[in-house]
């Protein structure tokens, strides 16, 4: 309240209007999760007759039935859950690790050729290339990566926007720590993993979580490249699209609610890490 007292009348009006808008929008976002969770507790008929009705007898059984009734092709809920965990964790880990490693050598080792990598990353990020998804699909097919667990290898690319975050983080780090470790007899690998990497771990963690959430929720690439190994995000979409002969909205919404829990929990636990460690570009002096 002290902050409010400090503000002039004009400022207070502006902040009050902004606050009102923010609260309305925030409440509407909260409704999404509440609605999906509550719909998962209704019967199918209750959802169809009154999708926003609040009078119903909770059907907790829906949340158990999801595990047996949510099926797409040969995949059931458990296999979709496994695929979600596998692809989201490894994709996020490989993407962050490769960007971190590349950014470290580009930032800390003074070879002329490494400077070109920085330039290449900037070009790749700022010059968008459209329409290559057909070619990518063809390549995945030719390499046998379609519907394969080895697809995660494609994530091992350090030339992306994450590189810039890591580059900025390493640029801010003093090289003195590494030199002290070298004097103590440590090798380059040891210096990276035991001295330098722990110091950018917050940035790594924030980017990993951001990427993991995006991978967990990604349905579009999974629909194309993993149609026979559906993740929860793509599997639930396919389940919904295939609901022609037997429509079970109660199961669908219960599945949605379950799939939403892991990212919400992870985000709640690490929200501070996410919001305080990532910045883009420099600040002017």
């Amino acid at each position: 309240m002290k902050i409010l007292e400090k503000r002039s009348v004009g400022q207070r009006i502006v902040f009050a209007v902004a606050w009102l808008i923010f609260v309305t929008v925030a409440a509407s976002y909260l409704c999404i999760f509440l609605w999906v969770f509550l719909s998962g507790l209704k019967t199918h008929d209750e959802i169809v007759l009154d999708p926003f009705g609040l009078r119903f007898a909770p059907q907790f059984q829906n949340y158990i039935d999801v595990f047996s009734m949510l099926r797409v092709g040969r995949s059931n809920f458990a296999s979709m859950l496994f695929n979600s965990i596998y692809f989201s964790v490894f994709n996020a880990l490989f993407t962050c690790l490769s960007s971190c490693m590349l950014a470290y050598v580009v930032s800390k080792f003074r070879y002329r050729v490494l400077k070109y990598i920085h330039v290449i990353v900037l070009i790749v990020i700022t010059l968008p290339i459209y329409g290559s998804s057909g070619s990518m699909y063809k390549l995945y097919h030719d390499l046998g990566l379609l519907n394969s667990y080895t697809q995660v290898l494609a994530a091992f690319s350090g030339v992306n926007s994450y590189f810039l975050f890591f580059f900025a983080a390493f640029e801010c780090l003093s090289w003195n720590y590494a030199e002290a470790a070298y004097i103590d007899g440590a090798g380059h690998t040891k210096v990276f993993f035991l001295v330098m990497f722990p110091q950018v771990f917050n940035v790594f963690g924030a980017l990993f979580i951001m990427n993991w959430i995006a991978c967990w929720n990604d349905y579009s690439s999974a629909l194309i490249y993993l149609s026979k190994l559906p993740t929860l995000a793509s599997g639930i979409y396919m389940f919904e699209s295939n609901m022609i002969y037997e429509v079970r909205l109660d199961i669908l919404y219960a599945a949605y609610a379950i799939a939403a829990v892991p990212p919400i929990v992870i985000f709640s636990l690490f929200s501070n890490m996410l919001t305080n460690n990532i910045s883009f570009g420099a600040l002017k002096d």
Partner: protein
């Protein structure tokens, strides 16, 4: 003495070259996988895509070189009701909406940075649309604007219609409600980037301004914005060069039906609808459209980069 010092120098050189060799090996080890990946999944893919733009597939599976994809593109492009034409129009409108929302996103982060009442809860809730899957968010929205939801009935009353309109499948309303969905979900903007950038601003600068009686608007416009200009310029550049990728949740909301198609959704559907058939000519036509769009986007990117650089020479990435 000379022999001894030569031997010592040789020894030192050997150690230095050995350690230099280790350093080079370490650098190669750290660069090889990411760069190999980049060569395969970026350079090769885009080079192949460029070639595919000039190719088509015969019924027997033979690939041949032709300009037919480009002829088709220009033929469809000039038709006012073509899918490509509609996609381009909607993409530009979406881009306009995103451009308007860009400063709003910055302001949202600014107000949260200034610790507006309940800012921690608001910030957490503002992250929900990006934490929840797009499928969940759109399912909720589809129900809200669906015939059983409150919005469709409101539209019926306002427009005095004899029936409850299906807002996402009626071409009179579909686009509007796709854009409203985009606006609704884009209000918080990029809070992660803005939050991180604003948190690095020195408090002493702002306290000095406050002591001088600077109001919130001047503080945001004349102090904070110039300080975060490098980030602002970079994000604006990325937004502008990504103009042809601008889209809302079109695939999930309408699948591009009822005149809502955007280029991004169209390109996605070209791959999605092949159903695993890599000999589909759709993939080759997609590459040709991609080449055309990329050519325009590259010119646009260079122009925008020049402008942002001229506005502020100190922009660093």
């Amino acid at each position: 003495m000379t022999l001894q010092s030569n031997a010592a120098r040789n020894g030192r050189n050997r150690i230095r070259s050995k350690s230099e060799m280790k350093k080079i090996l370490f650098v190669i080890a750290f660069c090889t996988l990411p760069l190999l990946n980049f060569l395969i999944f970026y350079v090769f893919v885009n080079a192949q895509s460029f070639l595919m733009a000039f190719q088509r597939v015969r019924g027997n599976g033979d690939v041949y070189f032709t300009l037919a994809n480009f002829t088709r593109f220009f033929g469809e492009f000039t038709e006012p009701t073509s899918e490509i034409g509609i996609s381009l129009r909607n993409t530009f409108i979406t881009f306009g909406v995103l451009l308007l929302l860009f400063p709003i996103g910055f302001l949202v982060s600014y107000f949260l940075y200034k610790r507006i009442l309940g800012y921690k809860v608001i910030r957490a809730l503002f992250f929900l649309p990006s934490v929840l899957a797009g499928t969940i968010v759109t399912t909720f929205y589809v129900n809200v604007v669906g015939v059983d939801g409150p919005i469709a009935k409101l539209v019926q009353n306002i427009m005095n219609l004899p029936y409850v309109p299906s807002l996402l499948s009626d071409s009179r309303f579909a686009n509007l409600f796709v854009f409203l969905n985009l606006i609704w979900l884009s209000i918080p903007g990029d809070m992660i980037i803005w939050g991180g950038t604003l948190s690095r601003i020195s408090q002493s600068v702002l306290e000095a301004a406050e002591l001088d009686g600077v109001g919130w608007f001047r503080e945001a416009w004349q102090i904070i914005l110039p300080l975060v200009w490098p980030t602002f310029a970079m994000k604006l550049l990325l937004l502008v060069v990504g103009v042809f990728g601008s889209t809302g949740n079109v695939f999930l909301l309408t699948r591009g039906d009822s005149g809502t198609m955007t280029l991004n959704c169209w390109m996605y559907l070209q791959v999605y609808e092949t159903g695993g058939n890599i000999r589909s000519n759709s993939l080759y036509y997609l590459s040709a459209v991609g080449v055309m769009i990329t050519a325009v986007a590259v010119v646009l990117a260079l122009v925008v980069k020049k402008i942002t650089d001229r506005l502020n020479a100190d922009v660093s990435y």
